[in-house]
Symmetry: C2
Subunit: 212 residues, 2 copies
């Protein structure tokens, strides 16, 4: 019976649109399923047939938020291109999507961040998935000789650390003007050429760097 | 007349302590000079003799917050040590101070961040001062041949970008467990060995990195 299934999907989308409108107006913290039922003209018990809790609604909204980013990540992992370019695009393409969303409606972007904070257990899965995709690109780079002396988990964690202004949406809100493509390219290249284990106490051998 | 001067300083300190107690209890956003006057048992007009506005109070509190960090930065800039170690300690020593403050009272730490957000024009001067100290260390590194092809302003800005989890106190609150000394040393060494201008489109020459 395809008809009812389609109706359910359409109604769920209509409810999510209404929820987005509410968080856009009021922020994500204070809205309740009762507010949402009123906004879509349903009884609360009817609303709960479509989303059994605010958690379930947040999960569906997070799914929409991450869907486009997942397609980008999934496409890149199997793409035929040099791993250096792949790592760059892994951040550049997602940065472009997030920047467009932010510029389109900074207030709504912030409300989505609040919604994510409120339902972090939901977001955690998507963050782990992004780490998983990134790990497979970084593993490819390690096969080519990058990141000598470091294990993959350490590399994933250090790359995440240095890439925060290009991938942490909350930090991006504060620093969006700094997250340019040109700067991203330099940071990726810094990580690729500089990130490796060092035995000595002084970080690097200065004599390698004397100009001329 | 040293006596009255000393009394004024002592009273200002007592008022700042009371203000800290208030933001610790209620957060920084909502408290007023009237609340503060009540807390120290003064009339509002008497309080205004010591701090002419909430801005002036925030400025004095920011001064206390940054005083220890300024001593560290000032001492390091003129210290006799290899510039690589100097750059590492520039972040490591301040990280240690901020981590200790955070662990001592995470709620108060967060309230200070709120106070800073509310009075950003006050904080901005201290942020610029830290950039100024960092620039003089990075200029010293450039004299030794680091960061080829980049100008000092670009280097300052890129180093700030990659160091966010070790120097942005708001981000540190979320990622304190990641900001270890060992990771800091690797990130500094990555920046020193990897950060430079690149002409080619592909970030680095992979053949330089093939192991063996």
């Amino acid at each position: 019976m395809p008809r009812p299934e389609t109706d359910i999907v359409a109604t769920r989308i209509r409810i999510m649109d209404a929820a987005e409108h509410i968080i856009q107006e009021k922020g994500a913290i204070s809205f309740t399923m009762t507010d949402l039922a009123t906004a879509v003209g349903m009884s609360p018990s009817n609303l709960y047939r479509f989303f059994e809790s605010k958690d379930a609604l947040a999960e569906a909204m997070a799914g929409e938020w991450f869907a486009e980013l997942e397609i980008i990540m999934d496409g890149l992992v199997s793409a035929e291109m040099p791993v250096e370019e792949k790592l760059y695009q892994f951040f550049a393409k997602r940065l472009m999507v997030k920047r467009a969303r932010f510029e389109d409606d900074p207030g709504l972007f912030e409300s989505y961040m609040e919604l994510g904070d409120e339902h972090f257990e939901v977001i955690k899965g998507y963050v782990d998935l992004a780490d998983h995709y990134m790990a497979s690109i970084l593993a490819e780079a390690m096969e080519k000789g990058y990141f000598k002396g470091l294990d993959l988990d350490t590399v994933v964690s250090l790359v995440n650390t240095m890439m925060q202004p290009f991938c942490n949406p909350k930090l991006m809100m504060q620093m969006m003007h700094l997250a340019t493509d040109e700067r991203l390219r330099i940071v990726i290249s810094t990580i690729l050429s500089g990130l490796q284990a060092h035995d000595e106490q002084v970080p690097v051998k200065p004599e390698l760097h004397i100009a001329g």
